[in-house]
């Protein structure tokens, strides 16, 4: 991961750390983002995502380590970086008492450009927003506010986009629409770094970094994150889920048992290749313990399985946030 910075990398971060008083917000973070990549940071509140984005957009300096954006140093070249990046902070930061169009015109003017010049890049989003052009920003729905904020971050045609939790607190339908827009932007070749607490959004990214407690727990394409899971994982479905959960935790091979939507995921002490045997044994054991109807099947670990397993590895106390 820490190979010499290739000239073409869009972001190169080496071992950065940042503390606020006693709190270590970032603790030795390193990664690179390739040009044109849609790169996601996935982690809960307090993981360090916002601190990282504020460093990359030159708003604060790291205590240690280095960060380069578009080949420019976040400390020495801050003015060059600021004119080349688009940044959408986590907190809604547009002017609530300006209309949709006034906000957009304002942000264009701040960067010395016009809406007309930015038209091509904002077009897919502007199509959805233009019916509300004369509405005050504070009267927009949550999903529409986020789309306007994205427009304002894009209107000066940045070479890289930083989106800090654009889908937090937004409903499931608006979240899907927002990711569809990001996919369209990706198709234009724009590099995008985005953070989210929603694990199910990982699949939308080219690569994701799992972040927790100021540390990166892993970086990989979403389909490859589970590669190092190291244990057999099985899904269990049955009635009276809470009783089933309590029972499964008492199985001698259980490392962890967690609810996953309509299923329970059982991580076994055995290796991944033993998963079919583990599932057969577990089905028999459940039948002998009053859950004859339970369905048991081996599965591949998803992003959230991986995140939880690595969270446990990274912080023995269990609760580092």
């Amino acid at each position: 991961m820490t190979a010499p910075a290739a000239q073409e990398d869009a972001v190169v971060v080496s071992d950065i750390a940042k503390s606020f008083g006693e709190t270590r917000a970032l603790d030795g973070v390193s990664f690179t983002v390739r040009p044109g990549e849609l790169f996601g940071f996935i982690g809960p509140d307090g993981a360090g995502k916002t601190t990282l984005f504020r460093i990359l957009t030159t708003l604060i300096l790291p205590d240690a380590g280095s960060a380069r954006v578009l080949g420019l140093d976040v400390d020495r070249d801050l003015w060059a970086i600021r004119s080349s990046v688009g940044y959408m902070p986590g907190r809604f930061s547009l002017y609530p008492d300006l209309t949709v169009e006034e906000n957009l015109r304002f942000f264009a003017a701040v960067f010395g450009t016009t809406i007309a010049e930015g038209r091509a890049i904002i077009e897919p989003i502007w199509r959805q927003l233009s019916p509300f052009a004369t509405r005050r920003a504070d009267a927009l729905s949550g999903g529409m506010k986020q789309k306007l904020a994205l427009c304002c971050a894009l209107v000066h045609r940045p070479r890289i986009l930083f989106l800090d939790e654009p889908t937090t607190g937004v409903d499931a339908v608006s979240r899907r629409e927002f990711w569809e827009i990001l996919a369209e932007l990706r198709a234009t070749g724009l590099t995008t770094v985005v953070s989210t607490p929603y694990m199910d959004e990982a699949g939308r990214c080219d690569r994701v970094a799992l972040i927790h407690g100021g540390r990166i727990l892993g970086i990989a394409p979403p389909g490859a994150l589970g590669a190092g899971f190291g244990h057999a994982l099985v899904a269990v479905r049955g009635t009276n889920r809470f009783a089933l959960l309590t029972l499964l935790r008492r199985h001698p091979d259980a490392i962890s048992v967690y609810p996953f939507g309509a299923e329970l995921h059982f991580t076994s002490r055995h290796s991944p290749t033993d998963a079919p045997a583990v599932a057969r044994e577990l089905a028999g054991w459940l039948a002998a313990n009053g859950h004859a109807g339970a369905e048991v099947a081996p599965i591949e670990p998803g992003v959230e399985d991986t995140f939880m397993a690595r969270m446990g590895d990274a912080s023995p106390a269990g609760e580092a946030a």
Binding site: A47, G142, D171, A172, S174, M311
Partner: protein, 242 residues
Amino acid sequence: MSEPAIVAEGLTRRFGSFIAVDAISFTVERGEVFGFLGANGAGKTTAIRMLTGLLAPSAGSARVAGHDVATDPEAVRRSIGYMSQRFSLYEDLTVRENVELYGGIYGLSDSEIRDRGGALLESLGLTPWARTLVGAIPLGRKQKLAFSVALLHRPAIVFLDEPTGGVDPITRRQFWETIYETAARGTTVFVTTHYMDEAEYCDRISIMVEGRMVALGTPAELKERNAVASVDDLFVRLARAG
């Protein structure tokens, strides 16, 4: 007192010509975990404000814990607990001070506050943190404390408004186990969430679209009836159609 925890009949709220909640009718049984879902702006918050006695209905009725929300909102408010995503704890008070403050607000006596508060901190593993400022304790513990404080006066129903937003996946699941335990003791849990996997943990769910309740049933029933694999797909299909 064998009356259901919540009975809403034609519950409606208008703001001028805008109908925020449009004649919703549903029942929540005692001890049930009831998921209240809907897109942003679908009317969830307005409905919850009526059910918690904070906003009078324009038409229809709702009885919560046996009390009418329109004629007896005070009794409704005494019978419910409430916890929102923005935990309503005071960050610059200690853990114990928060418990004492809320115990007082809920009208508990000093001895009740001492006994229940002590038992509460013990059961949450917070006794060593009793003198710590709430702002300095980990998010997961803060969340459990907020939930427990909402239960301090032993309400019949607790309303949880996006209780797990932004919380890590392990803490989120631990919180749901606390919800199950609470419901198993007979407390009704009325919960909103944007995590569709959590909707699957509810006994029954409802989905609101543009002020109306367009789906009501167990997650399994609703998935089967709409031929979808998950509540997420169900939600997107119904909310987009609306």
